[in-house]
């Protein structure tokens, strides 16, 4: 039997046993997300489309799946969705500037040997694709953090309907600080795990520190880690502010109406 099929089957069984219906939905969400990846590939191979715009659309789709499909459409997930999109767009602007300057797009000299059979003159914009790769790697974590903040803020608001906007914002920030350590950890280790082979490679071929730092591969991976950290941090004040704004606004409307 195929490794992937067996892994998938075990994951599905575990998710349904432990998570019930919601677990099954989470498993299906993985397939939908895979579908979004195919969507990204389909449009990015066409040079007429701007990879940045495709990325923003893909991020919106992914957030819809992770927030609205796994959970429900309600005020929590709506504010989380809005926060995720705003964070993504702000982050994307920063990333595009950096990928352009640092020239970390495409493939490094370490990879190029095995790509000899391929034509590299394929007309797509690898700089923008590099920016898109960084955003897509972090989108799951950003959506997760947004949800983790907006959900307890909603709870707080339900239990204390008279809370001021400023206090609600402060509450959101304090929740955000609590999850900051764990969400950055999740990302750091995921990146460490996938870069392990590369680290061993650098050490085995005794690269000097200067060579490692300036190589395209290493610097692009470090920049990815840094932006991942920046992304899950930036989403905290953005979500706290948006949630505080909309929850309190809905109350003011109710009072006036």
């Amino acid at each position: 039997m195929n490794v992937l099929v067996l892994f998938g089957a075990i994951l599905f069984i575990l998710m349904t046993i432990i998570g019930g219906k919601k677990g099954a939905r989470s498993f299906i969400a993985l397939f939908f997300n895979f579908g979004v990846l195919i969507f990204i590939l389909f449009f990015m191979t066409n040079p007429d489309f701007n990879p940045i715009i495709i990325t923003v659309i893909a991020c919106a789709l992914i957030s819809c799946i992770n927030l609205f499909f796994i959970n429900d459409i309600n005020s929590k997930t709506k504010t989380a969705f809005l926060s995720t999109i705003i964070t993504t767009v702000v982050l994307l602007l920063m990333i595009v500037m950096v990928t352009d300057k640092a020239m970390i797009q495409g493939f490094g000299e370490e990879e190029i040997e095995e790509l000899g059979v391929f034509s590299l003159f394929i007309g797509v914009d690898f700089v923008k694709i590099a920016a898109s790769v960084i955003i897509v790697s972090t989108i799951g974590a950003i959506a997760d953090a947004a949800m983790a903040i907006s959900s307890p803020m909603q709870e707080m608001y339900t239990h204390h309907p008279s809370i001021s906007r400023k206090d609600l914002f402060a509450f959101g920030i304090s929740i955000g600080k609590d999850i900051l350590g764990t969400s950055t950890n999740t990302l750091f280790f995921a990146f460490f795990g996938s870069y392990l082979a590369l680290l061993i490679w650098f050490k085995d071929l005794s690269y000097s520190l200067g060579e490692i730092i300036n190589s395209k591969i290493f610097s692009s991976e470090m920049i990815t880690i840094f932006f991942a950290g920046i992304g899950v941090t930036m989403v905290i004040p953005i979500t706290a502010w948006i949630s505080a704004y909309f929850f309190v606004k809905s109350r003011d409307k109710a009072i006036k109406g």
Partner: protein
Amino acid sequence: MHTLIERINKKQIIIYIILAFCFFISLVFVYHNESFYKNPIAEVVKTKLVDSSEMVDTNENKDHLYTQEIEAEIKNGDEKGKLIHLTNEYTKSGAYDQGYHVGNELFVYIDKATDNGEYVGTIKDLKRDQYLSIIGWAFIFILLIVGKKQGLFSIISLAVNAIILSYALDIYLNFAGSSLLVICSVSVILFTVISLLLVNGFNEKTYAAIIATLLGTFVSLLIAYLVMWVTKEQGLRYEEIQFITRPYKMVFMAGLFIGSLGAVMDVAITLSSSIFGLYEKDNDISIQVLKKSGLEIGKDIMGTMTNILFFVYISGTIPMLILYLKNASSLGFTLNMNLSLELARALAGGIGIVITIPIALYTTIFFVKRKKARL
């Protein structure tokens, strides 16, 4: 009260001043550190586009090919201050090349001297350390401004864990016969203990989370091994694993092990702090209720956590997938060749996350029960 606030502010101000100072020193350093490099470095002072042509490859992909002539000033070594002439060919898509602009610093090879005391050379690569340190500082500042103390702990945790990893790899590479799996197991224990203590401090929540994380990681590793053994690793394309100088299966398993660790820790600490939180709010709460709420929280986080891992692993392959597709490979072949290892990692990580939910639940309840018994 008033003086306390003042004191905290003073302390903070001092910390920020020290940070700003480090920031400027390091920026000045990375922009003037050419003499620390052995390879010649040259700063671009003039570029001229000499040729531009459209080209179509065998798969009908259109691209633009450019040639630029570059004049650059050598910044280090014996030839410091001299001009060097370089030629750069690049494409519009930039898969393995790029156009340079005035101000870029390049690593170059000096090929020969010309008659007028200038040089001719070839470009090796761009100097990237200044960009890396700017982003690094942006990361540090944003984490500190938003996260304050927790932000600082995240940075420390990243740095300490990176050092442990690097040190562990040194041990693995320098002692023939040492097993990567044993070294990784020891590192995993260190990673878990240090990260969770930094995130959550010395308390029972943390201890419960540490035990749950270690159990969860090792159980999921066991499952992964069993699956690989039963299926004889069918469907895994090890030949596509990049940068490999060592037994690939070990490297893959170790990467899988470490990669899911952060997510497993996240699940463990989320469950243990919320269950302890419920217990501390109401000491008479029944174990049954705790179990039920713990399971609810577990259900809430399992989907998003597996998705986090999925995107971290999958996104890195996008450029390669595009390259395959644009070179007339079929979608099935492209995905099969490039994604098998990443998908296996994501799925195995997901198994680790889900299996940790009941483990963390029962470990925490065990700790709560012990605490109850002591009362």
